[in-house]
C-alpha cells in the first residue's frame, strides 16, 4: 500500500509536473495499491490527464484509489463523471459546468460525435458565444481527435473540459497515451540522420505544412488551431514526453520536465466573449480552389 499526494492541480507547469511525476514514480511497479490523495484544488479538465496515466498504471494491475476529503473537489469529479470510472456511481451535473470526462477508442468516431454534440454544440448552458466561434472550437477539437487517430497509435483518447460562465471561458483537454510528438516526428526525420528533442518536435509539428505522413499531404490542423488561439487571445498548452509548449497572450514559450509524459496532452482555453470575426477576410473564389 502506498500513498501519493496531488495538490493544487490547475493548468500550470507545476500541476502537469505533479501528474507526470506521479506516473513516473509508479510506472515500473506491479500489483501495488496506490492511494492518491487529491487536495486543495483540482481543475476539472485535468481529469483527462490523471485518467490517462492512471489507466497506464492499472495496466500493470496496480489498484488506484482516489482519496478526496475536500467536498468540492469530490463533487466536481463526480459531476464530470471521472470518479464513475473508479468505483463511484454516475452522477448528474446539477451545476451544468462540466464537460464530461470521456475515455474512448480513437476509432470510435460516431461516439465521439455524440459526445461533442451532447457536451458542446447542443448545450444550452454554454457561455454565450457567436456561431462562428462555436464552430471554430468544435473544428479544433475534431482536428485534435483525427490527429490522435492518424499519428498517435494510442489505445484510448481522454477528454474532459470545464465551462466558466462567469469568466467567459471554456477549458478543454485532449490526451492520448500514444507515441508522443518526439517519437512520431523523429521517425519521419530518421532518413536525414537528425534528431529533435521533445520541444523541438512539438515546434516542428505545429508549423504550417509540416507533416510526418509520407504519402498524404497534411500538417495544417495544428497550425489552424494555433491561428485560432492567437486570434481568440486564448491559451494553448502541449505536453509531450518531457516537453511543454505554451502559447498565451504573452507569446510562445517552452519548458522541460525532468520526467516524461507517456503520450501527448493538448489543453486549450478559449475566450467565449471573443468578438473577433472568424468569417473570411476577403472573398474566396470557388473557381480558384484547385
Amino acid at each position: 500500500m502506498s500513498d501519493y499526494k496531488l495538490e493544487n492541480i490547475d493548468n500550470g507547469y507545476k500541476s502537469y509536473k505533479q501528474i507526470i511525476d506521479f506516473y513516473d514514480y509508479y510506472k515500473d511497479g506491479f500489483f501495488q495499491t496506490i492511494n492518491v490523495h487529491i487536495e486543495n484544488w483540482f481543475g476539472g479538465n485535468m481529469a483527462a490527464v490523471l485518467g490517462s496515466v492512471s489507466d497506464l498504471l492499472m495496466e500493470n494491475l496496480n489498484t488506484i484509489n482516489f482519496v478526496i476529503k475536500d467536498v468540492e473537489i469530490k463533487n466536481l469529479l463526480l459531476r464530470n463523471g471521472f470518479l464513475s470510472y473508479y468505483g463511484h456511481d454516475i452522477e448528474i451535473d446539477d451545476r451544468h459546468t462540466t464537460i464530461k470526462y470521456l475515455k474512448i477508442k480513437p476509432t470510435d468516431g460516431r461516439f465521439f460525435n455524440n459526445y461533442i454534440f451532447g457536451e458542446l454544440i447542443n448545450r444550452p448552458e454554454l457561455p454565450e458565444m457567436s456561431q462562428p466561434l462555436k464552430k471554430k472550437i468544435t473544428e479544433s477539437i475534431y482536428e485534435l481527435y483525427v490527429n490522435a487517430q492518424i499519428h498517435s497509435n494510442t489505445k484510448f483518447v481522454y477528454t474532459c473540459g470545464q465551462l466558466f460562465p462567469a469568466k467567459n471561458k471554456i477549458e478543454f483537454t485532449f490526451v492520448d497515451t500514444g507515441r508522443g510528438f518526439k517519437n512520431v516526428v523523429n521517425s519521419a526525420l530518421e532518413p536525414f540522420g537528425r534528431h529533435f528533442n521533445a520541444n523541438q518536435a512539438i515546434r516542428w509539428a505545429i508549423k504550417d505544412k509540416n507533416s510526418t505522413k509520407g504519402d498524404v499531404s497534411g500538417g495544417i490542423g495544428l497550425a489552424i488551431l494555433i491561428e485560432f488561439i492567437k486570434l481568440n487571445k486564448g491559451k494553448l498548452q502541449i505536453v509531450s514526453d518531457n516537453g511543454f509548449y505554451l502559447l498565451d497572450e504573452t507569446g510562445e514559450k517552452d519548458y522541460d520536465f525532468p520526467t516524461s509524459f507517456p503520450g501527448s496532452i493538448i489543453n486549450i482555453s478559449v475566450r467565449t466573449d471573443d468578438d473577433a470575426s472568424y468569417s473570411l477576410i476577403g472573398e474566396i473564389n470557388n473557381n480558384d480552389l484547385f
Binding site: 468516431g109 460525435n113 462562428p132 464552430k135 468544435t138 473544428e139 475534431y142 482536428e143 481527435y145 483525427v146 490527429n147 487517430q149 492518424i150 519521419a188 526525420l189 536525414f192 537528425r194 529533435f196 523541438q200 515546434r203 516542428w204 508549423k207 504550417d208 505544412k209 509540416n210 507533416s211 505522413k213 509520407g214 504519402d215 498524404v216 499531404s217 497534411g218 500538417g219 495544417i220 490542423g221 489552424i224 472568424y278 468569417s279 473570411l280 474566396i284 470557388n286 473557381n287 480558384d288 480552389l289 484547385f290
Partner: protein, 117 residues
C-alpha cells in the same frame, strides 16, 4: 467532357466530414472519374463540419497522382460555405508544395527548427 456530380453527404453518410478514412472514399471516387477522363463536381450540400484531415485525403493527395492543370480543369466545388472553401484552398495549396520536392521540404523544415534554437 462529361461532369459527374459527387454528393459528399451521400458518400460519407454524415454531415460531419471528420475522419481521413471518409476522405479516402471521396478520393477514390474522384480518381475513378479522373481515370475515365470525367469532370468532377463535388457538392458539399448538407455538410456542417470538415476537418483538414478529411480534405487531405479527399483532395490533397490528388496532387500526388495528377498534374495541377488536370485537377484545376477537372474539378469544381458546389454548395460550400465560404469558410470551408477557404479550408479547401489551404489544403490544395499545401498539397502543391508537399508533393513538389518532399525531401528538400523536410530538410528545410528541420534546419528551420534546429537553426532557431
Amino acid at each position: 467532357m462529361e461532369t459527374i456530380e459527387l454528393f459528399i453527404y451521400n458518400i460519407v453518410g454524415s454531415q460531419l466530414c471528420i475522419e481521413a478514412e471518409d476522405g479516402q472514399k471521396v478520393y477514390e471516387k474522384i480518381k475513378k472519374g479522373f481515370d475515365e477522363n470525367k469532370r468532377i463536381s463535388l457538392s458539399f450540400q448538407n455538410i456542417e463540419m470538415i476537418t483538414t484531415a478529411f480534405l487531405n485525403t479527399a483532395v490533397g493527395q490528388l496532387y500526388r497522382d495528377y498534374p495541377e492543370d488536370k485537377i484545376r480543369s477537372s474539378m469544381e466545388v458546389k454548395d460550400i460555405a465560404p469558410d470551408d472553401a477557404k479550408r479547401i484552398k489551404r489544403v490544395t495549396d499545401t498539397a502543391k508544395v508537399f508533393y513538389k520536392d518532399p525531401e528538400e521540404r523536410l530538410r528545410k523544415s528541420i534546419d528551420e527548427i534546429l537553426g532557431e534554437k
